[in-house]
Subunit: 351 residues, 2 copies
Amino acid sequence: MKKSLVRASVQSLHAYVPGEQPAGERKFIKLNTNENPYPPSPKVDAALRGLSAETLRLYPPPAADALRRRIAAMHACGVEHVFAGNGSDEVLALCTRAFVENDGCIGYFEPSYSLYPVLAAIRDVRTMPVALGQGFSWQTPPVEGSGLFFLTNPNAPTGMAFPPEAIEAFCASYRGVVLIDEAYVDFAESDCMALARRYDNVLVSRTLSKSYSLAGLRVGYCVGAPALIEALNKLKDSYNLDRVAQTLALAALEDVDYMRRNVALIKTQRDRLGSALAGAGFDVFASETNFIWTKPPEGITAVDYVAALRERGILIRYFPQGELARYVRITIGTPGEMTALIAATEAILAG
Amino acid sequence: MKKSLVRASVQSLHAYVPGEQPAGERKFIKLNTNENPYPPSPKVDAALRGLSAETLRLYPPPAADALRRRIAAMHACGVEHVFAGNGSDEVLALCTRAFVENDGCIGYFEPSYSLYPVLAAIRDVRTMPVALGQGFSWQTPPVEGSGLFFLTNPNAPTGMAFPPEAIEAFCASYRGVVLIDEAYVDFAESDCMALARRYDNVLVSRTLSKSYSLAGLRVGYCVGAPALIEALNKLKDSYNLDRVAQTLALAALEDVDYMRRNVALIKTQRDRLGSALAGAGFDVFASETNFIWTKPPEGITAVDYVAALRERGILIRYFPQGELARYVRITIGTPGEMTALIAATEAILAG
């Protein structure tokens, strides 16, 4: 019997399953992957118009210098504190290879971003999931036993922010690297960027996918101590960010005001949807993100609610694992999309 | 003393150093990174014009289905035989994680693409370099002892193609996965794509960076047995290829004729430069790529030749390691660039 050509840990691996991207004819209201309902800044469009295909014959700047300088200026740090990646997914994956030995361990909250255990399985190392407290509240993780801790704040899929002082106390005592995943932080009341400057074991990652409406461009970054950033740079593909991505991301980051206006619109709809769902008997968790985590009322299960919405042309996200299967995650869309969702929900409950 | 936060193998790692991308005011004739001197197809430009920034708010198709279908059609295989990556660099890096156990080993020729030992160091596994024969000729590697063999054909930096029957005989008996890196194959007389269909342990990788003039876009792919492709898909970032890259790569692959015309122009200049260098006393190796590997004549060292060209505004590639330090690698450019290079070379040798 011939030995398998594929590594044992890869054979048994279950890949991450992203939310559905419908490809067919049918037009859905898409509230399942936390995309921004508004287009990116007009400056991104102008930068796209200004691009010449001719320049694509040349390799991109390997270290994305101009983009990193802009990010450094935004966060009042030197460029050596900034790593730019092909989506923050690349940042997270590189962290597992930079900061965890083969016999090491990766920690994360449960529930949290469901990619983390997949990244640990890809890296073929142990995991230390830390169960959150009552109502998905903060629970201080052990400060030893793992070399890397993925801390999503605000958390996903719950949408809730953790107390800043609890996060800082954990970072100060944790023995490994804390990656604070701030994918949704532009929708939140506070952020942890100061910790990336204050502690030599803290990285804060951001993405342009959500607040900047650029999920299709794949640009994320992290900020932290130069020794950590240097490790990520050593491990990345030589040219991890293409020319178009570098150029358009820079344009987006030069229009923070536009992003903030969209965030304000989304937060207004978040409040509206939260009230409507609570009024309909849903258990609604306080969101500081562009989505709402909620449990349907008695009388309808989450899976049935998701299916009923799908029949009405609305996609939301459902996680079939364990306790999570009682909840749904709904991305905040335009006012019209929220009106449609609320009406559909009322119709389903009236059923 | 606090334990380092960075993994031991990463601390000692020396990252790959890409060829210089000059950023200053000075305009160089750039013959140092094997970029194509011609712009990408007009169809790429048209696709770029047709892009709407608005679509970038949505995540890209995670498996790049349309692009992979086109690649599959080009190579007369099913889409399940195709993996699309963020440059063929991503394909190579994923292979080290998919097909090599932690106590495994990666084989490659010496000299060959200098990224391979770096990828092995990043993966923190042993290497089995196989010295080429006299004049950088084929040398059959051991069929055991490594789980992955990177086989560049035509080889880089020598530019020489290996005998197809020798490659096939090796693939047939090798116990691991052979990744045949065909980055330069569009400039060659033959290719090994048939081996990817014939052997369940062979992957053939291609890139759009060279022949398709899209180094700045970062798109590569590989073709092989579905079991190997599935392993790569499990390990990749969920959305490894952005929307722009997928769209423009598809446009480029729909204009193979345009690529072939540029390749013909480049091959004409390759012959011309080879003759001129040989006439000037250089040792010139038979190239089936878009570059020439050559040893300067007695009287000038490679490093001095490179420096003298740089003074004259021409960049070529030099590898300072061991035996390679006696040679230079020159990318084939436009007729005007080759005229300038030949004139500069004559002046340097006369001087």
